[in-house]
Amino acid sequence: MAEKSYDAVVIGGSSGSMEALQKIIPSLNRQLKIAVIVVYHIHPDSGDFMVKYLGQRSELAVRQPIDKEAIEPGVVYIAPPNYHLLVERNRSFALSIDEPVNYSRPSIDVLFQSAADTYTEKLVGIILSGANTDGSLGLKYLKDRGGLAIVQNPETAEMGTMPKGALSAASVDHILDPDGIASFLNQMAK
């Protein structure tokens, strides 16, 4: 994988994925010079809990993106609760309060599809544990545009529905456990 370089990583997770995120995000190397963008299904009223929690444990900066903010490498962005998070063509963020997609807002599909339009083959997509299939279409879309698809091994996921859905929707490049995902990403640090 070292021969190919990537500009961004999108990660989607739902129930049970907190455990995986807790392993992955704090393990990321300070030298990682790509943006990591996360949609985690969380209660609409949970504020910036995730940002604080992961931020205190991580070497990389962890932030909630601001609307129209330019996407910076080496930053972990967590979608704000109750908003969809989208990537614009000029590599900035946009938020939306459009209806939930797959009963979810933020929706993983919405992030993945807009990110794939922008980053095309420079994008890595990762689907973690979850009890619904949000993200399956998004991962396939990302794959169709030349991106790299990774799915958490359903056996290591608390909820297997989401990784299994992604595996059957897209031809996935790697099936890894959370530690494997972290070391895979760290290999991209140059």
Binding site: D67, E69, L86, I97, D98
Partner: protein
């Protein structure tokens, strides 16, 4: 950055809409616009965005449907209760000192926020001296806003948020239930003028004490955000308040230094 054919088709579609019908969506945030267009495309049975373009140029009814998809219609009563609570604590006392209040809901969609604020103004005894302008680009949603009839299932959540926003009564004191809908009381819209206004193409209108435009700017690109904040700046009196959505900011526009931040969390600004 390579541009795929579909993106070219979308850009041309928006251009066609502007030339033919005068609605300018060209500076809306692209990723959401694309989702909306593709959603209509898949339900229309047409084969491509170009076919949609052909259809809407020749079929104004089809355009009206698409217009409904493209305009920002998502809203709810008392979304972000902390905003209403802060407004009550920091803005209302100031408005009470005025002899007359002019308030503009820009991009009011189906009007849920218009009624949310009207309820607060009634509870604070401000309704009698307040003139409200509620504007949107879409006549269909404006008509809905004016009717003030909302599906009952959305009200349950609003009832909880009304409480969190420190409403002094029950939300149900302000509407009648009928079948599966609720109708807002007429007294709430007595001072409200519903009117057509397009933030992308129309100009300022004046002497406002408060402008509410929540979760509309997120659908615009930076250029259009700049235009719109400029209009608001022009329309507000000195010391007037600008209320945006909690995840919106004026810091990426040229007007950042024309306002002071009253509340960082809920994005209430005051014109200097």
């Amino acid at each position: 950055m390579s541009v795929d054919n579909q993106q070219i088709e979308i850009d041309l579609l928006l251009q066609a809409i502007y030339i033919k019908y005068g609605y300018d969506f060209r500076d809306y945030a692209g990723a959401s616009i694309k989702r909306r267009i593709l959603k209509r495309l898949s339900s229309s049975g047409l084969g491509s965005v170009s076919e949609m373009q052909h259809r809407l140029l020749n079929d104004s009814y089809f355009f009206k449907q698409l217009l409904l998809d493209l305009s920002i219609n998502v809203t709810e009563m008392y979304r972000d209760p902390s905003f209403y609570q802060t407004f009550r604590e920091h803005v209302i006392p100031n408005l009470k000192t005025l002899s007359h209040v002019k308030l503009w809901h820009a991009g009011c969609a189906t009007g849920e926020e218009v009624y949310s604020l009207a309820i607060m103004f009634q509870e604070e005894d401000l309704n009698e001296k307040t003139q409200v302008y509620a504007t949107d680009i879409n006549e269909t949603v404006l008509r809905k806003a004016k009717e003030g009839i909302f599906p009952e299932d959305k009200i349950i959540n609003s009832e909880q948020n009304y409480k969190k926003a420190k409403g002094s009564k029950q939300l149900s004191d302000y509407y009648f239930k009928k079948y599966s809908h609720v109708t807002m009381r007429n007294s709430l819209k007595k001072n409200v003028l519903f009117a057509d206004h397009n933030l992308a193409t129309d100009e300022s209108f004046g002497e406002m004490n408060v402008i509410l435009c929540r979760n509309v700017l997120i659908y615009f690109n930076q250029k259009l955000q700049d235009r719109v904040i400029g209009i608001f700046n022009e329309s507000l009196v000195e010391g007037g308040y600008l209320c945006l959505g909690t995840k919106e900011t004026i810091s990426f526009t040229s007007y950042g230094n024309q306002f002071k931040e009253i509340d960082k969390e809920v994005k209430i600004y005051q014109k200097i």
